[in-house]
Amino acid sequence: MVGVRTQDLRKVYSSSPPTAASGGSGPRSDGKKGKPAKVEIPALDGLSLEVQPGEIFGLLGPNGAGKSTTVGVLTTRVRPTSGTAWIGEHEVWKQPALVKRLIGVVPQRANLDFSLTAREILVFHAAYFGIGKRQRDQRADELLEKFRLTERANQMVRGFSGGMMQRLSIARAMMHDPQVLFLDEPSAGLDPQTRILLWEIIREYHQAGKTILLTTHNMDEADALCQRLAIVDHGHVIALGAPKELKASIPGGFLLRLRFGRQPADLMQRLQALSGVREVRAADTTGVDIYADRGGSLILEIASLAASAEAELSDVHISEPSLENLFLHHTGRSLRD
């Protein structure tokens, strides 16, 4: 079994980053007057993580957090500005050809060979990895069957639906039986049925002793699939652990998002004094986020407190312990922002 490790990865794009590999905190222009401004976009800012051999590990974060860039660095497609990445014992940027033998990659955007049929895509992929003819034919048939593509095996992929292309992309990544499988937003754009099939296949591949690293901005997927997660924002890891541990780390667990039309100065202190409230934060000029160990039962007390303080409570939203709340707790922003 093979693990994955990165040490203090930094990546600054000097022009706009490629699609599905953007990240960081937005453009930073340092051009001089009179010359066209050179745009530097930081995508990774000292990202370090360690994925244990045989683990399903998730990178969770909003779009532009640096997830795809991390996968790009680990899969020899993005050269880091500094820092080191390893697949097993091999340093990615010193032994790229060796590393490529160990990894399988499912990209965020389908990159299937449009000049070939579905079956040829699998067979040629295996041939690039030096797998003999009989073995690659047999494996292609098995994977086509498993991914329910046998009927379309001899058709060109140009007319395939998004879900079929995604299934074929995963089948291709598994053709050479890689030790580490990278899946970049694997269920983006998939219907629920295909998503469940995909999750089953990922779990099954993991049971065969393989390491899986997937990126997602879907909390349900991260929660359902991953043994450990790194929550990434602005190119670095802001929280790391098993989904359960991470959720338990949110003060109280419940999040109550309140909006007030008018907000007296001492409201925050008074809210903090309520029983079960663990943390009170100003969300913006009119909002307050309350982390508490109970949800709905707190509303009555909050409403009467607001009435006595002459604060106009205009909106209330309660959410149960979730990774979304965790992200919000660390960044003050929603994963969906």
Binding site: T75, R77, V78, L98, N111, S115, A127, R172
Partner: protein
């Protein structure tokens, strides 16, 4: 060096070329053969051009076919694959150095250029016959043909990795068309004597050496540039275009 991966990529390109054989055939040969028919047969038979013109025209047509095929075979897939379909990513993830993926493209382009160059000879001969051509120095001819095919494929690599999809039309209008018309394909270089400035300026065009080299070996009695100059120039262009192409390819392949 992983020869298995390299061979499999070549096999993939051969498979795709076979699948698109009819399209490739029409794309490669139709225009040059129409040109051969009009200028080599209609114009000659009707007395507007002398019969000797047929021998001057044939090497130029071979050069056009080879160069156009090589550039097209390498540049067009690369433009689409890097910018639109991204299908090259599968080969970039094969267990082989990234530069070898580019070199495989060059070898595949060279082979297609060679096939195009050699296949156009019997077709053109059928249209033009009788036409006087002879290969007195087969080794020199072979070397020149290989160097021309290399120039075409390396040119395709450099162009394919430097041009955006929306500029394909511009590539043909601004690069390929002037290259063909100022490439001594339809006339020998010596015919430009009366345009001394133009005669010197066209020497930056690698197609000039391809046409003149083929003319020197197929129609040795016709006026042509010295074979040594042709060989030196073609080797220099091959090396230069390969270096530019590999650099651009690596820039595209790794961000």
């Amino acid at each position: 060096m992983n020869w298995k991966a390299f061979g499999a990529m070549l096999a993939r390109d051969a498979h795709v070329a076979r699948r698109n054989a009819i399209q490739l055939f029409l794309q490669t040969f139709l225009q040059p053969l129409l040109f051969v028919f009009i200028f080599g047969r209609v114009m000659v038979r009707s007395g507007y051009l002398p019969p000797q013109y047929k021998s001057l025209l044939l090497p130029g047509i071979i050069a056009i076919c080879m160069v156009f095929t090589g550039i097209w075979a390498v540049a067009m897939p690369l433009i689409a694959e890097f910018q639109w379909t991204r299908e090259i990513e599968d080969r970039l993830l094969a267990p082989i150095g990234v530069a070898w993926v580019a070199i495989e493209k060059v070898i595949a382009g060279m082979l297609q250029a060679l096939i195009a160059g050699l296949a156009v000879i019997p077709f053109a001969w059928l249209v033009l016959r009788p036409v006087e051509i002879s290969i007195d120095t087969p080794v020199v001819f072979a070397v020149i043909v290989v160097l021309v095919a290399t120039f075409a494929a390396c040119g395709g690599l450099a162009l394919g990795c430097s041009i955006n999809q929306q500029h394909i039309g511009l590539m043909f209008g601004m690069v390929i068309t002037p290259m063909i018309f100022f490439g001594c394909t339809y006339y020998p270089w010596s015919a430009l004597q009366t345009f001394p400035l133009l005669q010197k300026a066209v020497l930056i065009n690698p197609l000039v050496y391809a046409s003149e080299g083929l003319r020197a070996t197929l129609v040795p009695r016709s006026p042509h540039l010295s074979i040594v100059a042709v060989l030196i120039a073609l080797v220099c262009f091959d090396v230069l275009l390969l270096a530019i192409g590999l650099r651009q390819f690596e820039k595209k392949a790794v961000s």
